[in-house]
Symmetry: C2
């Protein structure tokens, strides 16, 4: 058995000059090949630089075991392990509102597996909602590049159904009925603030 990174994929370290690589990618293949995380990072950069919101992805949580301090150069982490995040990956502030979400994608075509989420993330989103924060998930069907924003309350209904022995995924139809579709744009790529504006009304 191979241990995989929490999102089910092997971890592939990004080159330091990832922006250059990204640009090349986007020029040569259009929007294809970008991960949901890439698109959201670009979106959040756009929001910060245009003064619309301050929302960031949290660093990958790592349990550091051994660090080397060589003379005349930077400290090197020699042994560390991936930890499961205790919260969601993204949070920040938009017009005074606290925004908190998790983002996941699937290569399935007709349903979205709930195993992409974890009980403690649902617990966290519940706590956030109780504090009047805005909690949701952004999910993407990568093969068709369809993106949805599903509020926490809706996700929790499907989660509870699973805990009661029901299906372990949400069908595409269920998602369409309970979520907001976000069209893929150029700048920003995933304009989820528009949906939040709608939720705030």
């Amino acid at each position: 058995m191979e241990f995989h990174y929490p999102n089910g994929k092997k971890f592939s370290p990004k080159p330091a000059k990832s922006s250059a690589v990204k640009k090349e990618k986007s020029y040569s293949h259009g929007k294809r090949g970008m991960t949901l995380e890439d698109d959201l990072n670009e979106t959040n950069d756009y929001y910060v630089h245009s003064g619309m919101a301050v929302i960031h992805k949290k660093p990958v949580p790592v349990q550091i075991v051994n660090v080397d301090y060589p003379k005349r150069s930077a400290a090197v982490i020699k042994e560390a392990y991936f930890k499961q995040a205790s919260t969601t990956d993204y949070n920040g502030v938009y017009k005074g509102h606290y925004v908190d979400f998790e983002a996941k994608e699937t290569r399935n075509r007709t349903s979205f597996p709930l195993q992409n989420f974890h009980q403690h993330q649902l617990d966290h989103m519940k706590q956030v909602t109780a504090q009047r924060g805005i909690a949701f998930v952004i999910i993407r069907f990568s093969l068709t590049e369809e993106i949805f924003l599903m509020p926490y309350v809706q996700l929790n209904n499907f989660w509870e159904r699973m805990l009661k022995g029901g299906r372990k995924s949400m069908t595409k139809k269920e998602i369409e009925e309970t979520s907001y579709s976000i069209p893929l744009g150029l700048h920003p790529r995933i304009d989820y603030l528009k949906i939040i504006d709608h939720l705030l009304k």
Copy 2:
């Protein structure tokens, strides 16, 4: 020259069962020996568990270069480097309000060095303030265990003074005049929400 961890201290990995260690510490030596980070983590745990607020420390940002995927066991990060954080360390939600802060301590007795903060953190707090979030720093004089909450606007005044060629630290007296003292308690240890309540009035 030795590279140090951003807070100026060598990185010392925490044992996995840190809660047990913490308890022992606190029984045998009272409140002494706890770092500001320990005290804030305990405070935030208290807030979350009592349903008062959802505020967490972000993971330490790390640039991962090399990961080993041994068969039948967890992925091991073999080479990684500390990255400078692009935001502050703590954020979350309290009664619908976005809360964002950095926490630093000094062993000085009469002044607090501004080198504990970075331009990009000031920039981040400015952006947060523009989005109507609540941004501040929590500073501690570790030798006397005095703790203060200084709002971003006040910190920025001292920062600007430094950029104009003024002193590179804030005197204790200046801090007392511009900040809110937080008495060290038992549960929670650093009850900063009380100050936020005051700021929100």
